[in-house]
């Protein structure tokens, strides 16, 4: 099914169709992640691929138009490049470790420590979280910075306009009212989504979830609000200055944790020294940095969405 979708994406010219199929594609790959035991990844892929990316792409389509024009170049050269690359990969796979064999080098070398020792060493049951936030905490800091960089980039390209006066092309009449049913539903759902975001944020140590997923869920609540009540109301709810301050604050919380551990005489991002005994220290450290991640991700996503919609509204 996945390949079918992918190939259809290649063939389809209606860009709306392409984007929607991309949403399906993403959901499908998230399903595959579930089957392959990667619950956290499935969570994120669904949030990012089927959720945020698709919404961003749609917002782009609003201002760019929906049909693709046929290319006038011959598809043979790219096809050749692709076939060669694919053939190289297939050739290479013949030597690769077999799928799912517990004796593969991947499972016996580094990962064994994560699986066997981390629940006692770091003290939390979700191994993904402990690797993410502690063993490879610096990578995650890099990830937060990447997201932050994206905000910097998007803001330098597009401006968020708080109060757009929308020229009305629509004919007035009973049909042109916004969807009242939707607004009621949104008001019901948004508090629930926010609570759910908090649950995912703080439950990440024990179950799937964590700062990133919670941030996206939080942002999706605001996006839903903006979709049903209009951009102006949403910007009034979450003003632009707040987005800027919080996005930077999240990064600083993460980085600051590292500086604190440095000041306490340990290496950067070593949480052992944050409390009296290492396991507690790890726990505090992970909670704090997950909070930083959550704040930055939520505000960045909201900021990018606002910027996109401002542009889309302004383009008419």
């Amino acid at each position: 099914m996945l390949s079918m979708t992918a190939i259809a994406v290649v063939r389809l010219r209606s860009l709306f169709g392409v984007v929607m199929l991309f949403g399906i594609y993403s959901l499908l790959s998230a399903l595959i992640f579930v089957v392959l035991d990667a619950i956290d990844v499935a969570f994120t892929e669904a949030a990012v691929g089927a959720g945020v990316s698709t919404v961003f792409m749609l917002a782009t389509l609003v201002s760019t138009g929906r049909e693709e024009k046929p290319s006038r170049y011959s598809p043979l050269l790219p096809l050749g490049v692709v076939v060669v690359t694919g053939a190289a990969l297939v050739w290479g796979t013949l030597d690769m470790p077999h799928f799912g064999d517990p004796g593969n080098p991947v499972h016996v070398h580094v990962a064994d420590r994560y699986v066997q020792v981390s629940p006692t060493e770091v003290g939390i049951p979700n191994m993904v979280t402990s690797v993410l936030a502690s063993y490879r905490g610096y990578d995650t800091m890099g990830e937060v910075i990447v997201i932050f960089t994206a905000l910097v980039g998007v803001l330098s390209l597009l401006t968020i306009r708080g109060h757009v006066t929308v020229p009305r092309h629509r004919t007035t009449g009973p049909d042109s009212r916004p969807y009242p049913v939707l607004q009621v539903m949104a008001m019901l759902l948004i508090p629930f989504i926010l609570v759910f975001a908090l649950y995912v944020q703080f439950h990440g140590d024990f179950g799937p979830g964590g700062g990133f997923q919670a941030g996206v869920i939080f942002a999706s609540a605001i996006i839903l609000y903006a979709l049903t009540f209009g951009l102006n109301d949403a910007v009034a709810l979450v003003p632009v200055w707040l987005i800027r301050v919080l996005a930077a604050a999240g990064v600083l919380i993460y980085g600051g944790t590292g500086v604190v551990s440095m000041l306490r005489g340990a290496n950067y991002l070593d949480y052992d020294v944050l409390a009296h005994d290492p396991v507690h220290g790890q726990h505090y450290g992970i909670l704090i940095i997950e909070l930083g991640v959550g704040i930055t991700v939520a505000t960045v996503m909201i900021g990018i969405f606002f910027a996109f919609v401002s542009r889309a509204e302004g383009s008419r």
């Binding site: 190289a88 990969l89 050739w91 290479g92 796979t93 013949l94 030597d95 690769m96 470790p97 593969n104 080098p105 991947v106 499972h107 016996v108 070398h109 580094v110 990962a111 420590r113 994560y114 502690s134 063993y135 490879r136 905490g137 610096y138 990578d139 800091m141 890099g142 990830e143 910075i145 990447v146 932050f148 960089t149 994206a150 910097v152 980039g153 803001l155 330098s156 390209l157 401006t159 800027r244 301050v245 996005a247 930077a248 604050a249 990064v251 600083l252 980085g255 600051g256 590292g258 500086v259 440095m262 005489g265 340990a266 290496n267 950067y268 991002l269 070593d270 949480y271 052992d272």
Partner: protein, 495 residues
């Protein structure tokens, strides 16, 4: 206490300064001041690191207190400290000059964001250089790439947008190729730490999967360093970016990619695998030579001097590839020296050009006519940088070309020598076009009279030009460092 944390601070300092700068974005002066101070701080740190590793020590810094291979570590040795110094040095010289030129070229409300992106780009480049973890490298690579897409798109011309987009697509393909390569290596060994990889890969023996990974990594890094047929993004990106961004990126970004290439070839895969089994030199020598000749000729026909210099950058990367492909110590020494020296000369040339743009706008060759009299210092700086680019004796450019020729002679590959000399002659021609326009032609009557560029731009330019001459006259310390690093790399050395 602080000296133990220098390796981490080298990257964390600009990384954390970026959000601060983002908060200060509305106060342009403060944002610029912060950026400048941080770049000086980075230079100080990298010099201190040089001091610490000067005798061949290797510094390991484990993040989070988790030892490699479980955690992420930073490693500093004599090879990457060279790149650290040049990157932070160029930053420390170009960032102070930024204010002047940025005020003129970028809208006011975007300037704070530009400084933030500059800091992020610096942090990313330093991080790529210093990290000892293959996946961490990917993350930092993306930080620097995303910020450079932003920086390029801030150019005045609308073509900056398309250039940036083209770079984004090609850069992301490159990064994904690197990701595939790292994934296969991980699959085969179970580790992401470079030192650990270097130990475990040879134990695998002949493996097709490893060869595939090698291919993907070479192509991925090749895209980033604008290896010849994959260079298409570079000329437009450098030509339409704001001047100061061109100066910083032309001097640093591709150099860091060259370093990554060297690191993969020599430290991770080992010279035995790279050159004896995969024969990567059979790729590098022809590609490098074609790049040198072909792009030099293309550079001849450019009206826009920024584009001309950008094409010349691709040619210079060709020299570095040839140096690596010669597979001997002096060839590698030449390549490393050229990494350093080319950063100096391209930095100087692009800054001089930035100063010119400050007064005359677009740097088209026709606009330069008669400028030699009106902007004598700027034009003299340009000529100084140009001499170094050509490789005239007593300049830094001469030293690296000299070593390259020596290495080729050592191998007995005379055609390589001939091509290097020919392409230097082509460089003479394209630099001469500028000199001719600036000094020998009269200023057109309808052109506005311009005055010398402001000191804030001239001083950094001249620092770089003088550095070119200084390293041309006293190459001793540098060649010793590069030579040591090269012979250590060939000695089957692992971290």
């Amino acid at each position: 206490m602080i000296q133990d944390h220098l390796a981490a601070l080298q990257v964390v300092l600009p990384l954390l300064a970026a959000p601060l700068c983002f908060l200060l974005a509305r106060q342009r002066l403060l944002a610029w001041l912060l950026t400048t101070l941080v770049s000086w701080g980075c230079l100080a740190i990298s010099l201190a690191l040089w001091w610490q590793v000067r005798d061949g020590d290797v510094i390991h810094y484990a993040f989070g207190g988790w030892d490699a291979p479980w955690g992420i570590e930073y490693v500093v040795d004599r090879l990457n400290v060279l790149v650290l110094v040049i990157v932070s040095g160029i930053a420390a010289i170009t960032f102070p000059a930024a204010r002047c030129s940025v005020e003129k070229e970028v809208p006011e409300d975007r300037q704070g964001l530009l400084y933030t992106a500059l800091l992020l780009c610096l942090a990313g480049l330093l991080g790529i250089t210093i990290t000892g973890d293959a996946f961490n490298l990917f993350v930092l690579l993306e930080i620097s790439s995303l910020s450079s897409y932003t920086l390029i798109s801030l150019g005045r011309d609308r073509r900056a947008l398309t250039a940036s987009f083209q770079y984004l697509v090609m850069g992301t393909i490159g990064a994904t190729f690197i990701l595939i390569g790292v994934g296969i290596l991980y699959m085969l060994t179970g580790t992401l730490n470079m030192a650990d990889l270097a130990v475990r890969l040879p134990a695998l023996g002949e493996s097709r999967a490893m060869q595939t990974a090698f291919g993907f990594l070479i192509i991925g890094v090749g895209l980033k360093l604008a290896m010849f047929p994959l260079h298409l993004w570079l000329p437009n990106a450098y030509a339409y970016a704001p001047s100061i961004v061109s100066a910083f990126m032309a001097a640093t970004a591709t150099k860091v990619a060259v370093y990554v290439m060297v690191r993969y070839l020599f430290t991770i895969f080992g010279p035995a695998f790279s050159f004896t089994e995969m024969h990567v030199q059979l790729l590098f020598i022809p590609v490098g030579l074609i790049a040198v000749v072909f792009t030099s000729i293309v550079a001849l026909f450019q009206h826009d001097i920024k584009r001309m210099l950008a094409y010349s950058s691709v040619a210079q990367i060709g020299y570095m590839l040839v140096g690596i492909g010669l597979v001997n110590v002096s060839g590698l020494t030449a390549a490393l020296l050229h990494v350093f020296n080319h950063a100096l000369m391209k930095g100087a040339l692009f800054l001089a050009l930035g100063a010119t743009c400050y007064r005359i706008g677009a740097p088209l060759i026709d606009n330069l006519r008669g400028l030699g009299k009106q902007m004598p210092w700027t034009m003299a700086a340009f000529v100084g940088g140009g001499l170094s680019l050509i490789g005239v004796p007593l300049t830094a450019g001469f030293i690296s070309k000299w070593y390259l020729i020596l290495a080729a002679v050592e191998r007995g590959w005379w055609p390589v020598v001939v091509i290097v000399v020919i392409s230097s002659l082509i460089a003479v021609i394209y630099i001469w076009r500028v000199v001719e326009a600036a000094y020998l032609q009269e200023r057109p009557d309808d052109a506005a009279t311009v005055t010398e560029a402001p000191l804030a731009l001239l001083v950094p330019t001249w620092i770089l030009v003088l550095a070119n001459f200084w390293f041309g006259v006293n190459p001793g310390a540098l060649t010793a460092l590069a030579g040591d690093a090269a012979s250590v790399l060939f000695g089957g050395y692992t971290w």
